[in-house]
């Protein structure tokens, strides 16, 4: 039985009354406890669904049941989050009838977790809907999927460290099972292994981080931790451990090595969810730990590690996205970039808050929150598009696709929306949040201290460069996949995907347009989350339907921009119609001087089209050589030789030789040492246990003497 804690009288969340624009009226129509009851029911439903998926796995309609159930639960999450943001949930939380041995588990929602729950609901709904229309995968992928969703929701619903870490680990393990689903391939096994190692690293850092906070507070609930913020070395340790732990799960440079491997290995709807929602859950943990639980009194330099990591992630991710030749790997690298941008925003919020610049802190935090939501939605869309293309055209490699806009018009339209948002073009959602982020970066000089000022300026340059590189990567992606002519017979035979999949693509595409047109409304919805992050006086950086950059006199009116764009396009269309001859005339096409394709290539010789490597060439030469160790080699036959010339180009992520290889060497050395234990004689084994006993007794004696 569920027991709800009703507050005395009509409960109004502390966040509810403060609303910008037209949302000032606090609506008390929904009493708060049912929100949490519904959340608990959704969680339980997902767990039951996972349990039911085990015996039903081989039934032909099992996928329908599981993914349909996940769709309902995800929509439920989105509705619950909206209700919690608008009305507020019971601040006392809801006691569940079970939990760890020392106390019953308590779930709750505040502004921050509700905001991320909204993101989870929307992306989860799109991914589940796509999976409904997609042909079913192997049965072993069914049980982990609801558990994955449940783990993420549990992480968000937690009100103490134990539940949060439990949900986080459930999420990691379930997604590991999904990454390893297609384990016949060697590279997938390798990706899953690396993924698990990084998940363990995240846990190994987050558990002591929360432990340090709890040790000082004397309890593991968030309320107790908030009341006893850490100081001195404890605070620094929490900062480092939290950044490494959450960063490893979010894919921050230099802990991003797993991300470009794991995303292509998982099924498409799972990689959409991993990229859209799971990395954001890690960012939620980062924000919760560093901005909320460590208290508001932390100094400005706390933002510096986040700024540095975020800026480098943005740059490296965007650059790699320009060089990758697999659509899903490319999107995964773009995820690294966007995670970097969000972390940049969080770091700026920390720096501003430490310098008592409340409005600017709210601006940076608002940019981070908005970008997290926007990126979650459009990246889900793009991964689903990649899945649709891979299924329909038979490949994810950019060099085997092309011309799909004719065969898959709806998919192409949705992809165009997603790619334009990822390229941060107005009036789509990506532009609004990146505009806010750049505005807050440009205000970075107001934090005292020359170091932070220089860093903020450098970060602004890197972020702008990353945005430009991301735009280039998206142009390359869309152009190679959807424009031009098909590059392979399989690609030429592509068909549009099923109705459910089209709906799954159109849902996030519509949301991307909607979020792009009304970012100010969204931000006022995020006001409770901003108050959690930057203090109770925080105001969303929005006025009416405008976004405003703190106290600076600049603003962004997306509706106005959209109107101007529509007018300009209409004018151009009108002029073209007006100036052109009345009827369309068709004539022979000039084929750029190439000879006609041979008969066995009815769609033209693929070599006459630009390749993925060719488009990447200028950037690889310009930026790839210093940052990614890009290399090229040309093996030219001498005159008279009959062998073909060979050209090879490639690059290597610096995380491999600088982080993974030393870690592997260290592991081998430890393993060699540990192996020696197996050859000990019985006397040495006894000595080991005797030494342990004596050591423990000595510890006991020392503790007693204190």
């Amino acid at each position: 039985m569920l027991r709800a804690c009703f507050p005395a009288g009509p409960c109004r969340s502390p966040f509810a009354p403060r609303r910008a624009g037209g949302y000032t009226a606090a609506r008390d129509s929904l009493p708060p406890a049912p929100v949490l009851t519904a959340l608990a029911l959704c969680l339980g439903f997902l767990v039951l669904l996972a349990a039911a998926a085990v015996p039903l796995g081989r039934h032909p309609r099992a996928g329908l049941l599981v993914h349909g159930g996940c769709l309902i639960a995800a929509l439920g999450f989105a509705g619950i989050a909206l209700a919690a943001l608008l009305v507020g949930a019971a601040p006392e939380g809801l006691l569940l009838p079970f939990g760890p041995p020392w106390a019953a588990a308590r779930i709750g929602l505040d502004g921050l977790s509700a905001w991320f729950l909204l993101l989870l609901g929307l992306t989860g709904a799109a991914a589940s809907l796509f999976a409904l229309g997609h042909p079913p995968g192997p049965p072993r992928t069914l049980p982990p999927f609801p558990l994955f969703l449940a783990g993420m929701a549990l992480t968000l619903a937690a009100t103490d460290a134990f539940l949060l870490l439990g949900g986080f680990e459930l999420m990691s393990l379930a997604s590991w099972a999904l990454v390893a689903a297609d384990h016949e391939k060697e590279e997938n096994r390798k990706a899953a292994r690396l993924y698990l190692i990084f998940a363990l690293l995240a846990a190994a850092c987050l558990v002591p981080a929360f432990g340090l906070l709890a040790g000082r507070a004397g309890a593991i609930t968030f309320d107790a931790m908030r009341a006893a913020p850490p100081e001195g070395w404890r605070a620094a340790a929490v900062l480092v451990l939290g950044l490494v732990g959450a960063g490893a799960k979010a894919g921050l440079v230099p802990l991003h090595a797993w991300l470009p491997l794991a995303h292509p290995a998982a099924p498409s709807h799972v990689s959409a969810l991993m990229s859209g929602a799971m990395t954001k859950i890690a960012l939620y943990v980062l924000a919760r730990l560093l901005l909320d639980l460590c208290g508001a009194a932390q100094p400005s330099w706390w933002g510096v590690p986040l700024l540095v990591a975020g800026a480098f992630s943005a740059l490296l991710g965007a650059l790699r996205a320009n060089l990758e030749e697999d659509a899903k790997t490319l999107l995964a690298c773009s995820t690294i970039e966007n995670v970097g941008l969000v972390v940049l925003g969080l770091g700026l919020a920390l720096a501003f808050r430490g310098a008592d610049l409340g409005p600017l802190a709210a601006l940076a935090a608002g940019a981070a929150l908005l970008h997290a939501l926007n990126h979650g939605v459009f990246k889900t869309l793009l991964f689903l598009v990649a899945g649709a293309v891979a299924h329909s055209a038979g490949s994810r490699r950019l060099d085997r696709l092309g011309g799909l806009i004719h065969a898959m018009p709806v998919t192409a339209g949705a992809a165009l929306v997603g790619a334009a948002a990822a390229a941060s073009l107005p009036p789509l959602s990506g532009f609004a949040s990146e505009w806010l982020l750049l505005q807050s970066l440009l205000a970075g000089w107001r934090v005292g201290g020359i170091g932070v000022q220089v860093l903020a300026a450098a970060a602004a340059a890197l972020a702008a460069m990353a945005a430009a590189l991301a735009a280039a990567a998206m142009v390359r992606l869309f152009g190679l996949v959807f424009l031009g002519r098909p590059r392979s017979p399989r690609g030429a035979g592509a068909r549009e995907v099923s109705a459910a999949e089209r709906a799954a693509l159109l849902l996030p595409a519509g949301l991307t347009v909607l979020f792009g047109l009304f970012p100010a409304t969204l931000l006022s919805l995020a006001a409770p989350a901003l108050q959690v992050l930057t203090g109770p006086a925080a105001q969303a950086p929005a006025r009416g339907l405008w976004l405003v950059a703190g106290e600076a006199p600049s603003g962004y009116a997306p509706l106005f921009i959209a109107l101007l764009l529509v007018l300009a396009l209409a004018l151009a269309w009108f002029l073209v119609r007006r100036r052109s001859p009345a009827t369309t005339q068709r004539g022979p096409v000039w084929n750029c001087g190439f000879i006609d394709p041979p008969t066995h290539l009815p769609f033209g010789d693929p070599l006459t089209q630009p390749t993925a490597g060719g488009i990447a060439q200028p950037l690889r030469r310009m930026l790839g050589q210093p940052l990614l160790r890009a290399r090229e080699s040309l093996d030219m036959p001498r005159p008279g030789e009959t062998r073909p010339a060979r050209y090879a180009a490639g690059f290597e992520d610096p995380a491999g030789p600088l982080l993974l290889a030393p870690a592997a060497r260290l592991r081998d050395r430890i393993a060699v040492q540990a192996e020696k234990l197996r050859d000990l004689t019985i006397r040495r084994c006894l000595s080991l246990s005797f030494a342990t006993l004596v050591g423990l007794l000595a510890l006991l004696a020392w503790l007693e003497s204190r």
Binding site: F690, E704, S705
Partner: protein, 222 residues
């Protein structure tokens, strides 16, 4: 009950005697002398158990004392001597840690045992405290003997000393349940270990059925 009262002094004397014999075990250089000291320690354990039975008015402890005397002071030492005679083992003690350093380590262990036990048991009856400290010292010295001697028989002796210390602790606490059963079970274990050593020695010396043993001698295997 404190210093100067007969029950306390006798219990203390017997426990101290066991500890002293543990040190004697550590510094012997001949295996025969080690077995003698072990028999003596078993006899003192039997006396201590009987004394505790008399003092606490617990007749079952007489049974423990009887078992301890029969097995530890008579039976097992005889068996070990027979083993020694029959297989003509080395009569010298082969040490992994020299005699002197072992004694120093033993003194340190006794100090550690006292440092641990006395503060923990502050507030309980004095007799239990001292007894526990002595018993823990005997246990630790037994373990020390097991790891600083290479010979299997001496390791068995160390294990038996360890078990003697446990029984001493068990009989010293008034109202401890299942003392007789515990000591009997420990005794059965000890008998099994001694029997195991016998079997091991026999197999090693005469009765091996493993032909790979021959390969070494024929030069087929290094």
């Amino acid at each position: 009950m404190t210093f100067g009262q007969l029950p306390y002094d006798v219990a203390h004397l017997l426990g101290g005697g066991m500890l002293l014999l543990s040190f004697v075990l550590l510094y012997q250089r001949r295996i025969g002398a080690v077995i003698n000291a072990l028999a003596l320690q078993g006899a003192i354990l039997a006396l201590a158990a009987a004394w505790q039975g008399f003092m606490q008015g617990a007749p079952q402890l007489y049974l423990t004392a009887l078992i301890a005397f029969g097995a530890k002071a008579v039976l097992i030492p005889f068996a070990l001597r027979a083993l020694l005679r029959r297989f003509d083992l080395h009569r010298n003690v082969e040490t992994a840690l020299g005699i002197g350093p072992s004694l120093v380590a033993g003194v340190a262990l006794v100090a550690l045992a006292i440092l641990v036990v006395l503060p923990i048991t502050a507030g309980s009856k004095a007799i239990a405290r001292e007894d526990l400290a002595l018993a823990l010292s005997v246990v630790l010295l037994g373990m020390l003997m097991m790891i600083t001697r290479r010979n299997a028989i001496l390791q068995v002796v160390g294990l038996m000393t360890l078990e003697n210390g446990l029984i001493l602790a068990a009989v010293g606490v008034a109202g401890m349940p299942l003392v007789v059963e515990l000591s009997t079970a420990a005794l059965v274990m000890m008998l099994l270990v001694v029997g195991g050593v016998f079997v091991f020695q026999i197999r090693e010396r005469f009765d091996t059925v493993d032909t790979s043993f021959l390969e070494i001698h024929r030069g087929e295997r290094p």
